[in-house]
């Protein structure tokens, strides 16, 4: 289940559609905040928001596609699910090409939208967690000395201590000490953990 701070942000110019969606999400315990236009949403928008956006593709003023573009320019990665009408398929295709999470065509099955939104919330949560993990790993890595970084690089390549000692021209005992310090500073529980961290650093 998504974290409690995750919400679905509904942007639709039609009040009845907005209110009915909010009630629908309430029945599946997903908090929804509604906006009557793309401009109202962008005005209130805060970079820390988590969750997903349900965006009507056809609205007066700033259109759904434009909202998506502006969000991307602001470096936001909230997944966007477009609600499209009968003849909007070309626009929906464009939205998908620009990285929309998905689109549903009006009128849609409630389960279809609820499923898509749940998936989008999960994806967003995973991305948030991954981003947090990367931040933590980077912070830890920054604490390593240059020599420890060298040792870590060799360790995650799978080199034995003996080989590392020869490569770095130090004693095997010294490698062992550096290696222990790396594991401690990186808060790695195992070699596999450390390899995962190295991969996260490369991202």
């Amino acid at each position: 289940m998504p974290t409690s701070s995750a919400k679905v942000f509904i942007v639709d110019d039609d009040q009845a559609v907005r209110n009915s969606l909010r009630l629908l999400f309430k029945t599946v315990n997903i908090d929804a905040i509604t906006f009557e236009s793309g401009d109202a949403f962008l005005h209130e928008y805060d970079g820390d928001w988590q969750g997903c956006v349900v965006l009507d593709i056809r609205m007066p003023g700033t259109s759904g596609l434009e909202v998506q573009k502006i969000l991307q320019e602001r470096g936001n990665n909230l997944p966007v699910i477009f609600i499209t009408g009968h003849g909007d398929v070309p626009m929906a295709v464009e939205a998908m090409q620009r990285g929309a999470f998905d689109f549903v065509q009006k009128p849609f099955r409630d389960q279809e939208l609820v499923d898509r939104v749940s998936q989008a919330l999960n994806q967003n949560q995973e991305m948030q967690e991954a981003a947090l993990y990367r931040r933590q790993v980077r912070n830890c890595y920054a604490e390593l000395t240059p020599r420890e970084k060298e040792v870590m690089e060799c360790v995650v390549k799978g080199q034995a201590n003996k080989v590392i000692a020869m490569d770095l021209d130090v004693s095997q005992r010294t490698v062992e000490i550096h290696r222990a310090r790396v594991m401690e500073k990186m808060r790695a529980r195992s070699l596999a953990d450390l390899v995962r961290m190295a991969l996260a650093l490369g991202e």
């Binding site: 009845a16 009915s20 009968h86 003849g87 409630d110």
Partner: protein, 381 residues
């Protein structure tokens, strides 16, 4: 007089005159000063189905139908008393009646023959049935064309209409689905939500119904009946359909039709057709216009003592000089999917109402074009 000219003597005899009169296609009837038939030609027999002996001595009214029967003798009386000509020497269209009681439209021209013994009148009757049929056929064709054009316009608007119907349908589906979930959860608080949702469902179902109702009013076949009405009432009925099109295309609509303009006598649906057609053209014209300039104004004002002018102003590229002369022609179009009938039909409708349809390009600072049509206001007479 030269030798080879026709001598009066050669057609002087009664037989020759009869044969000339009988060769005429028009019916010729001679009546005396009191309106009694004295003589008829062959064409009269064919046209009315009476033998000559059935007509001689009978009042002329026998050959007229309905109101014209009585009116006819009064024309004669009045002419005799006052010299005012209602039919003598002028010609008039009347309903004539055959022996079998059927009637037909006819044109009658009456001339006065003053002789020594008495004054007589000679009537020439022409059967207008064929001409009328041709005219009615042309009128019917025009009405059909107007109707077809309106229906095809609605077809083009199907996408916008589907969008408009989808809003309430989507809301209804959401409310119903949420209600089912709430009832399954069976909480006290949920029941209150279900009740509110059902009220909304009711509301939205009516909203969908209204969309269909408005469309039906516009798609029903116009019968050409004109009624006294006011332009803002006529326009209001098409406003929602027109707005549907502008909203779907992200265009701002300014609608300024005053309620205090004088009454007009029009076929409302046809006038709505002009307005919707002009709005749709304006929408198409702004396909590539920047979002902030996308505006259409629909306005109406009194431009002459007896003339209302309705204008539809867009901010598209305007009408290029090269097509300015052709845009009102049938089958001329600048659109990829257009039939080229819209403006031609709008002009036909405007003219049939005694008005005009035209356009001008706006001043360059504003851009776009303004299409307008005029309708005469009702003149009390």
């Amino acid at each position: 007089m030269s030798d080879n000219s026709i001598q009066p003597d050669s057609i002087n005899g009664a037989i020759q005159i009869d044969s000339v009169l009988d060769a005429m296609i028009e019916s010729m009837i001679v009546i005396d000063a009191s309106g009694r038939i004295e003589r008829v030609n062959k064409a009269t027999e064919n046209m009315f189905g009476y033998r000559p002996d059935e007509l001689i001595g009978k009042p002329i009214g026998i050959l007229m139908a309905g109101a014209d029967k009585a009116r006819h003798s009064s024309y004669l009386d009045r002419y005799k008393q006052t010299g005012v000509r209602r039919i003598i020497g002028i010609g008039r269209e009347v309903q004539a009646q055959r022996k079998d009681g059927s009637s037909f439209p006819a044109h009658i021209a009456v001339g006065e023959v003053r002789a020594e013994d008495a004054t007589r009148f000679v009537g020439l009757v022409r059967d207008l049935t064929d001409q009328r049929q041709t005219e009615e056929e042309a009128l019917r064709r025009r009405e059909e064309m107007v109707n077809v054009s309106r229906l095809s316009m609605m077809g083009e608007m199907a996408a916008a209409m589907a969008h408009e119907l989808n809003q309430p349908l989507t809301a209804i589906a959401n409310y119903a689905a949420a209600s089912i979930r709430l009832l399954e959860q069976g909480t006290e608080e949920g029941l209150a939500d279900v009740k509110a949702a059902l009220q909304e469902i009711n509301e939205q179902a009516h909203r969908a119904g209204d969309v269909i109702q408005r469309t039906r009013g516009f798609t029903k076949s116009a019968d050409g009946t004109r009624k006294v009405t006011r332009i803002h009432e006529v326009a209001e009925l098409i406003r929602s359909l027109a707005t549907l099109d502008t909203r779907a295309n992200n265009i701002q609509m300014n609608w300024e039709i005053p309620a205090d303009l004088p009454p007009i006598v029009v076929d409302s649906v046809q006038i709505q057709q002009i307005i919707l057609n002009l709005v749709r053209n304006a929408v198409d014209a702004m396909e590539n216009t920047e979002p902030e300039k996308r505006q259409i104004s629909v306005t109406a004002k009194l431009t002459a003592p007896h003339e209302i002018r309705v204008e539809v102003c867009d901010r598209g590229p305007g009408v290029s000089d090269s097509c300015a002369n052709d845009i009102f022609n049938a089958f001329y179009t600048t659109k990829a999917s257009g039939m080229g009938m819209g403006l031609a039909i709008c002009r036909t409708i405007a003219r049939a109402h005694g008005g005009q349809l035209g356009f001008r390009n706006n001043e360059s600072s504003r851009g776009g074009a303004t299409f307008f049509f005029t309708i005469p206001t009702q003149v009390n007479s």
